[in-house]
């Protein structure tokens, strides 16, 4: 069940359809905002909350599929397409572009609600990921330049001795750096550090074997 604090955006040029969907969502307890065109939707300042977009394919200012392509580059809530007459190429294109579903009007309520539900779930997930990355990025920012040099070597799985050698420092110094990193990054184990480094996109530059050479 979709909880409070979530929002569904509806974009359709037919006000009757917007109205009907919004009322249906209201009956289901979902907050919804409708727009007659993409331009209106883009101009709207979206609240920082899990959301999804119910988008009509045929719109007066821009084709829904085209807007999907543009929105994919920014952080955008998942899209559920609705259309008057759906055809296979359009639906394939929509799904490939990351759409949650592609519904042909008229549609049953549960179909739309299911699609919206999974879309919002997907947005929640995405938002969680983005939050974590932000938090981890902030931690990463606290590392000294030397510690940033050490981090990739450590997550690459090099032995302390090998890493120290690679940086031309003593094994003891390296161990000190490593301890600071673990503390600053708020991880309890090397495994956690490796996982976080992966999320942050820190590349594994050395392998243990390569270092041995």
């Amino acid at each position: 069940m979709i909880g409070q604090g979530q929002i569904v955006f509806v974009v359709d040029d037919d006000p009757r359809v917007c109205e009907a969907i919004c009322d249906l969502l209201a009956a289901t307890g979902i907050e919804a905002v409708s727009f007659g065109s993409v331009a209106e939707y883009v101009a709207f300042t979206r609240p920082d909350a899990p959301a999804c977009l119910v988008l009509d394919v045929e719109l007066p200012d821009i084709n829904g599929l085209e807007f999907q392509r543009q929105a994919a580059q920014a952080e955008h809530p998942p899209i559920v397409f609705i259309t008057g007459h759906g055809d296979i190429p359009s639906s394939v294109r929509a799904i490939k572009g990351g759409a949650v579903d592609f519904l042909t009007k008229p549609f049953a309520d549960h179909v739309l609600l299911d699609a919206i539900r999974s879309a919002v779930e997907r947005d929640k997930e995405a938002r969680r990921n983005r939050e974590e990355l932000t938090r981890l990025g902030a931690r990463l920012a606290t590392l000294t330049p030397r510690e940033r040099e050490v981090l990739p070597l450590v997550v690459s799985g090099l032995l302390n001795k090998q890493a120290a050698q690679a940086l031309g420092i003593s094994e003891t110094t390296l161990e000190i750096h490593r301890g600071k990193i673990m503390r600053k990054m708020a991880v309890a184990s090397l495994a956690d550090l490796v996982r976080i480094a992966g999320k942050l996109g820190i590349e594994v530059t050395h392998s243990r074997r390569t270092g041995a050479e």
Binding site: D14, V17, A20, D109
Partner: protein
Amino acid sequence: MNVLSSIERYGMVAALGLGAGLIAFLTDETSCLLAPIVLVWPRAGRGPGLLSVGLAAATFAVLTFQVGVLAPIADSDALRFATFLATAALIGWALAGLSPDSVGRRQEHEARLIVDSMPGLGWSADPQGNFRYLNSSIFEYTGIKCEADQPAFAGAIVLHPDEEDRVVEHWRECLSTGQPYESEHRLRRGDGEYRWFRAVARPSRDAQGRITGWYGLTLDIDDQRKAEEALRKSQSELALILESIPGMIAVADGDGRHAYANRRLLDYLDLNPSKSIVYPWIEAVHPDDREAVLKVRRYSIKGGEPFEVVYRRRRRDGAYRWIRARVEPARDESGKIIRWYSLLVDVHEEKLAEQAVRESEERLRRLIDTIPALVWCATGAGDAFYLNKRLLDYSGLAPDEASQARTRLIHPDDVPSLVDTWADCVGTGQSFRIIYRLRRADGAYRWHEGRAEPWRDETGAIAYWVGVNVDIDDRLRAEQALRTTQARFQRASQLAGLAEVSASIAHEVNQPLAAVVTNSHACQRWLSTEPPNLQRARLAADRIIRDANAAAEVVSRVRALFRQTGPTKAPMDLNEVIAEVLDLLVDDISARNVVIERSLGNGLPRVLADRVQFQQVLVNLIRNGMEAMDGLDGPKRLAIRSRRGEGDAVAVEVRDYGSGVADPESIFEPFFTSKTHGMGMGLAISRSIVEAHDGRIRVAQAHPTGTVFTVILPVHAAPTPAKADA
């Protein structure tokens, strides 16, 4: 002239006779009476001799017996002597007169005889020119009645006035010089006609050379002169002809050497006529023609045959012109050629014209052979005698086989109609046009369109028929293919038309429908909450009503659209339209494995209807019927029947063997559908169309199963004016 001498002579005879009688009386000697005969007879002939003797005797007798008168003379010696002397003198004079001085006189006499016997007008004149003697012919000719001795006769009065002066002058001149006289002049005949004469005279001279007289002969030369004149005239005419004939004439001798050229030829070649025309004539011949000319000439002269040659010859202005030379030999009695006569005619213009005509003919022939059509000609009686090259090539006939074209080229099946039509056209002179099959050289019969027009002469009779054949085989096939394509296209477009209408209606209706469905769900949910939110449910229900009405509005707009378009009505055969629609749907029918049972009424009256709209109605009904049987396992049958309806109407029935409809009337409402696909618009539209035609559409449950739709159209349906009730 001899007039005078005759008087003289008889005077002398009389004098001698009288003298002799007188002497005989005086001398009393009778023998003296015989003396005159002795004297006269030899000189003047027997007659004058006897006459003189008679006179002498008479004189003697008178004197002897009538002495009274002359008695004094006889008595007186002196008188006798004097008388004697007188008598002697008289005799002497007479004798002198009769005496021959005589050679001249004899000659004179003979001359007269000659003059008289001259075969013409003979005359003599004295040295002064006075006529001395004129023969009888002169009097006969001139008709002048005058005495032979009349000296007053003047030759001038019979001279032609035009020549009088000349002739007289000449005569005087001859008289004075003594030259022989010669003249030709006209003399008037007794009847007034002048005739030509030739007069010749010569003087006669004595021993001393003095002119003693003139002797002349004037001969009638009129006939001769006229003949001569005629000859001269004909000769001059001949010359005139030669000079004025519009041709150039040359004459050569038997060996071909030049002898004469007429003025025209000389002028043409700018040659001097006085010079002998031995000119290098061959040089005047165009170099290209020289050999041919020489060859013909040599051959001809050798064989003595006439010949004709056309060649180019240089004119005096240096221009070469076409000349036609005709050369004929002339032979003498022995057959030897003595002359070659050549007639040269400048045929330059004709030749050029002829060339132009030939070129023009050649052009025309090439034109006829080149034009991309098969051309033929036939006689006025309709027998082909000419086929152009294209037609010969096409048919494989030889040029002389034109007359066999009909029997050899025309498809046997087409021969009767063609022969009939052709005979009709040839008989009436009407334009000929027929489409038939013609055999190509490879044996393939191809469709042709043949046309022919008569070519009339001045009298209006048909001289020729000129015909053109066009191979329309490809075109016919293309047309056929096109017709098939068109039929397909038409079918496609009609189906597309329906699909488009459906799509457009779908789009228009889909939005309110979607809203209706969503609102319905919302309404349900408001009612399902604990407690039910009736207010929100009512609002949702209101929207449902509103949106459903909007959908209905769309449909009525569509129906209004059909009405507003205003069908274009035309008389229409219902059976034809049924056939067309079945043809249109043939793919659909076979795909659905439906058997169509057709039962079309005969002699149905035509109805006034919009064909396309009515086709749509039928398509709709048939599709509906077929779709109603989609789920059927057994054989699918669809019956289509046309018949006369009640009153003045025709009816079409479409009956399916599907499961039938529960509520026959509601199916005509928009969006009523028993099918999983489709929107139920078809029957609504169909009813709109039929009603726009003042017709009715009904549906009924068929027995034992299925549905039957009946469309009834009035026969004399008046066109419905378009209504603006959208």
